[in-house]
Subunit: 409 residues, 2 copies
Amino acid sequence: MSIIVQKYGGTSVGSPDRIKNVAKRVIAYKEKGHEMVVTVSAMSGETDRLLGLAKQMSDEPDERELDMMVSTGEQVSIALLAMALKSMGHEAISMNSSQAGIYTDSSHTKAKIEKIHSEKIEKELKKGKIVIVAGFQGIDENGNITTLGRGGSDTTAVAVAAAIKADKCEIYTDVDGIYTADPRFVKNAQKLKYITYDEMLELAALGAKVMHSRSIEFAKKYNVALEVRSSFSDAEGTIILKEYEGMEKVVVAGITCKKDEAKVSIVGLPDKPGIAALVFGKMAEANINVNMITQSSLSQKSGTNNISFTFPLGDFKKAQSVIETIKKELSPEEIVFDDHIAIVSVVGVGMKTNVGVASGLFAVLGKNAINIQMIGTSEIKISVVIDKNRADDSVALLHEHFKLDKLSQ
Amino acid sequence: MSIIVQKYGGTSVGSPDRIKNVAKRVIAYKEKGHEMVVTVSAMSGETDRLLGLAKQMSDEPDERELDMMVSTGEQVSIALLAMALKSMGHEAISMNSSQAGIYTDSSHTKAKIEKIHSEKIEKELKKGKIVIVAGFQGIDENGNITTLGRGGSDTTAVAVAAAIKADKCEIYTDVDGIYTADPRFVKNAQKLKYITYDEMLELAALGAKVMHSRSIEFAKKYNVALEVRSSFSDAEGTIILKEYEGMEKVVVAGITCKKDEAKVSIVGLPDKPGIAALVFGKMAEANINVNMITQSSLSQKSGTNNISFTFPLGDFKKAQSVIETIKKELSPEEIVFDDHIAIVSVVGVGMKTNVGVASGLFAVLGKNAINIQMIGTSEIKISVVIDKNRADDSVALLHEHFKLDKLSQ
């Protein structure tokens, strides 16, 4: 008998029938003897409906009041799930964030969980009840309702699992696990049985949209075993954990491709301190998220410097006008924008102890006449910027090269 | 400068535009220097939408979970009103029942307010903020969310007004005050400037649907001055209070007519103790609300007894089958049902000190060949049961007889 926390997203509770299906799944676990805590999001569409009402009140609705309003979405879905469970003959109790004791800071619409007073959850669990906790929300020390921002319900589930020392935290979503590459584009992409927190963090940052990185960081910090799986099938998902046997044999666990970035190269900048701070300071002021950065002094003689970096494609025009202001101050030789790039990344903890991953990657791309525009690395990742036209190609070639179609764990 | 509590019902906050209108009205008061607390209901239609979802989960949804769910309706409207006020440049803060400290017993869906810890409301008022409190809901001592049942938002407003010692509690509704008779049926019906709690309680019980009697009882108990007025006009409403100068001169304050009742007469019952208990016990078991009751022993010789009473027309069939069971046990001589009656009532505190009201009423009806089937009285009320066809007629005749068209206060 274990303690299991399950999280169901908005699509999984998107209609009365789907809520009943969730109830049935929860009951199946309960009947195996597990103690069950369930976290749910608002029914899909509900948050947008509420935000639409708010927009009619004000172009920039007050954030405390937004949280007060939007948090009702989860309060409705937890109550509906509890009703369904009870009507199926099982004891259940729903708890909003105040009742579940989920305390956050006061940053409305993007609050961070600070502590969980889980006594009430544990008390009801001990009575044999299925406890249903509202995802995505908390209260601050003054009792104001807060919400956690993107990926918030996942974070709630992980935090509750950590607080009650659950054996496992299952994240139900609309995909059935983490794949070696996006299965929509790469035939033979394999579902991973296991992946480490660090790999998953890299994948999340590099375009895999399954889980938000905050919840993975939380799971890593408190060592909560996560499983990502589908609420529409019974297939086993992917378990995310700190380490697993043989993990270093898996040199590359996944290949991602991010197509929603653009690139700019600023060529021939003065080679002196403070230039990077100025450039990226301006980008930050304009609230543009810079992703990959490379900098190189072309030659010490010329005394000039090149900076290239990528940023979200959606900020292309904004970035152009930011760079325009830099142009006046620094008079670079040339500025080259490129809105037709992709970032292809190879991720795996095995890289730490296996040489040759980078050289293999470069060789594959070179042999296939795919030009590399930028290179970025971390301990467990190599990313390259290439022409967007060759992106799917590259992923397939690398997937084959690293034998991911034959991966066994 | 006074402290004013205002309550707006579901129709008054039924759309974004209406919420903005409420905001403007609140601001007008605030700018006159008043400290403002506002209680709102859920947007009209919202509670029904939620109940519809619940019905899809279970034929008899769990009541704790119903309250958890339905209470979100007010949480949305308080947040929207706060957003509107802030976007118009005024400091405002919304509070759900937990934040506002509204404690009730644990009778889900029909809870009663037990105490209000109003420190938080008062603290925000002192900061100059407009405080918006969710109507219709509370929390019990274990932190469970409860709802107050019919007329609940009025009760919230009155209870908050009592707790913070407000100077006045204004109830905004879709009529602009209390009239001497229903103005839809009686031309020349006059809007009352003042009415006493006791009169209003009688009127509420007798078919005037403006306020629910629970909130009036609460106002009476804590001596909260109420004003009923329209959120769609600036007309002054009717003030409900304990007593006002000259109130005993107003012999009759209002005439009501209740057309949604039916009557049964059970003739020739055994004249012995316990009969009434048996009859009305059965009705209570069937959850039928009995209204007027008369009982008479026809003659001591016959040793029999007649009971007549009225009950909601909607329960007609249910009442017939209840009476059927009584028939077998008590073998009365005759049972006569009548689904075509009306209860006409004359209400006024002045009756206490003015003789002749009853005789005047009987004379008017007699002169106009209107047969009286039952008579019921209280200190400040006389009710008669008559044929439904003569109901509007009777009200008009009595309205004229008691000179209500010329009432001045």
